[in-house]
Each structure stands twice: as C-alpha cells, then as structure tokens.
Symmetry: C2
Subunit: 192 residues, 2 copies
DNA sequence: CGGGAGCGTTCGGTAAACTGAACGGTACGT
DNA sequence: ACGTACCGTTCAGTTTACCGAACGCTCCCG
C-alpha cells in the first residue's frame, strides 16, 4: 500500500494545489490575506492548497481574479523554466593581446526599464540559501569562478563547477548552495 | 428589475456553457453520448450547458479529457476566428497577354495529407444554409464571381460583393446565404 | 397510426464543497 | 515570562453539486 490516509486525489487537484501555492507565495500573500481578498474562507483555501479539495468554477475564477492570472495558469502544468548550461569544457574562448575573453550573455537594453547588474559574490562553505522570487521577468546569470555550487530554480537546480555558467528565470524561488569549500561567482541580474 | 427567475449566474459559467456546447456539437456528440463517455450524468451536463451550474475541477477535467482539449479551451474566451477580407476595389490585378490574373491565396502543400480543392458553386436566390463543421484544421476560401452573399463563421459572417474574397476556418459551423439574386462563387477547401 | 429509441430537461436524495469558529504554533514587543 | 497578533490547520453545520429516475418531446419504422 502507498498511503492509507486519503483516497488518492486526482492529478488536476495536485496541480492546482502546487500552482496556487506557488502564485500566492510569489505575490507575498498569506493564506489569510488571500482569503480576505477573495471572499473565500481560509478553510477552503487551506484545503485546496493541500490537494484535498475539489473546488468549483466560481471558486477558481475568484482565485484567478485575485492573483491576476488566467484560469489556465491555475490548472495547467507550468512550462519548465528554460535552463541553459554552457560547460567550461565546451566554452569558446577568444584569446587576444594576451587576454582571454569568453562571451557569456548579451542583453539588448532597448526601450523600457531594462537593466543589467553584475556582482561578484563570495559564498561561505556549507551554505544553503533559499531566495525569494525577484520581480516578474527578472533573470539571473551565474558564473562560477572558484569552488563548487548548486544553483537554479528550486526544482531545476544544477551542480556547477568552476567556469560553468547558468542563467535562469528568477521570478520563482531559487536556491544557492555551496559544498565543502567556499565559492566565488559572478552574478548578473537581468531586470526586464 | 432585470430578471426574476434566476439569481444572475457568473460570467465564467456562461462562457463555459457556450464553449462546452460548441465543442460538443463540433464533435457530433449528443448530450447523452457525452454523458456516457465521461461518467457524468446527463442532468449535470444539461445544467452546465444551460449556464445554471457551478461544476468542480474534477468535472471540468473529465470534460476536457473527453473532448480532447485543455482546460483553458473550456474556460476562456475563444479567440475570434481570423477573418481576412480582400476587397475587389483594393485588388492587385496582373494583366498579361490580354488576361488579368489576381493572386488570392497560396498554400504550400508540404509533407502531410494537405490538400486543396476548388469548386465553382451556383447558389439559388434567397437561400440560407447552415453548414456543419468540417474536419479540424480545414479552411474555406470563397471568391464571389457574381451576385451578393453573406458568408463566414456563424458569428463572424460578412456581406460580400462580386470580386470579394474571404477565407475563414471551417471547423466550426459556418453559413452561406444569398440575397434576392442568385450568386456564383469559387470555393476553395483547404484541408490541412 | 402506435410504439420504440433517441434526445434534452426537470425533480428528490445524497455526498461533499464551502463556511465560521476554534485550535495549536511561531514571532514579536512589553 | 507573558500577552498579542498573525499564521495555517481542523472541525461541525449549511449549502449545493452531482446522481438516478422520471418526464415530455421528436423522429422513424413496422
């Protein structure tokens, strides 16, 4: 037997539960606040988020409205964040005048309030940090200079070695974790 | 007062009702057949289609599964069918060797079972025909040679004069209607 | 002209979605 | 330490979504 407690809830409810929690957290809303904003009781919301309820269209619609998303965002599998890894071994280096340059990412900063921020981070050994989501549209780029490191969106985090570069959307929770040794990384924050 | 019978049903339910009916009809399913295929009672389906019910996610999911669509197709406003009209007055004609050619539509018939069929139709005067949906992906093109004519998807039908050309998706119900005089049209059926 | 088969709608009864209130747990200011 | 304020969960009661069965209807075949 797998579980004796509940009677095996359908997939769509699990999906809804995960989506709801994710969207709510991303908006810094407590379950109680959301309840107030939607005229849905805390009890119902709690039940839905735990995957133990089978809400009606009306409830779903109220939720989608309060979270400012379409109904599809609540009910369908969110597309996996596009993660692209460029390994150090496969890097194209350009040596010139005694210096070696390596192109990583180019962002065209056109009309609107787009911005690029570069920061060098020194991370202590054995450190794991869950980071809160950044504003929608924000991406992060990480270049590992020294040490090892696990980084990426919560479910898609990847182990990185010196020279590796990873970029991922940072408007969902993400993690930065070091191993036995400290790490130095170059961090690029790309605000759209 | 607006209506004394029922207590003003929410928009999303009306939308669902319309979508469900449209999708069911397009698949040539009776309400009873759909009930059999989904393990949902006729009563419930009837209630939903009339906009008087507030179904649960589980019910919606079963429906979407049986109709082979995503949940979004059930719950969200369907995009208006893309209708493009090229008026006779604005037509680009190519005269050559005494004959005038006018490019209307070019379909690349590549790999799969794509096909193009051209038919000349003679329509009697004062004739209105509701046509059943053709297989999914099928489009129709109509070139009016002589007479006037109202044609297009049910909600987007347009009045056409000689020389006008219209093309629209024909996997939803569409109409062909003539006025006081008979009409000659060139019909192109584009099966994807 | 029956009558049988299909349709979509209407009607009580039951299971369950939703509610409001109470609960235990954590964080913070006095 | 204690009270306060908030969090998310749990529980009994009410509302209602869903079901099965009956209904009226149209169509078609004997």
């Amino acid at each position: 037997m797998v579980d004796h407690a509940s009677t095996e809830r359908p997939v769509v409810q699990q999906l809804l539960a995960a989506n709801l929690r994710r969207l709510r957290i991303a908006r810094h809303l407590s379950l109680s606040e959301l309840a107030r904003g939607t005229a849905i009781s805390k009890a119902t919301l709690s039940s839905i988020e735990s995957g133990n309820s089978n809400p009606t269209v009306e409830t779903l619609d109220a939720l989608a409205g309060a979270l400012r998303v379409g109904l599809a965002e609540l009910l369908e599998q969110p597309p996996l964040p596009q993660v692209r890894v460029q390994r150090a071994a496969q890097a194209r280096r350009q040596a010139r005048d005694g210096t070696s340059t390596r192109p990583l990412e180019r962002f065209v900063a056109s009309a609107a309030g787009e911005a690029i921020t570069l920061t060098e981070l020194e991370l202590a050994a054995g450190d794991r940090r869950e980071h809160a989501p950044l504003p929608p549209g924000t991406r992060l780029g990480l270049f590992v200079i020294e040490g090892r490191l696990i980084a990426g969106p919560d479910e898609s985090s990847t182990e990185l070695s010196p020279g590796d570069y990873i970029t991922f959307p940072a408007d969902t929770p993400y993690v930065l974790e070091t191993g036995r040794r400290p790490a130095r990384v170059l961090l690029a924050e790309l605000t759209s």
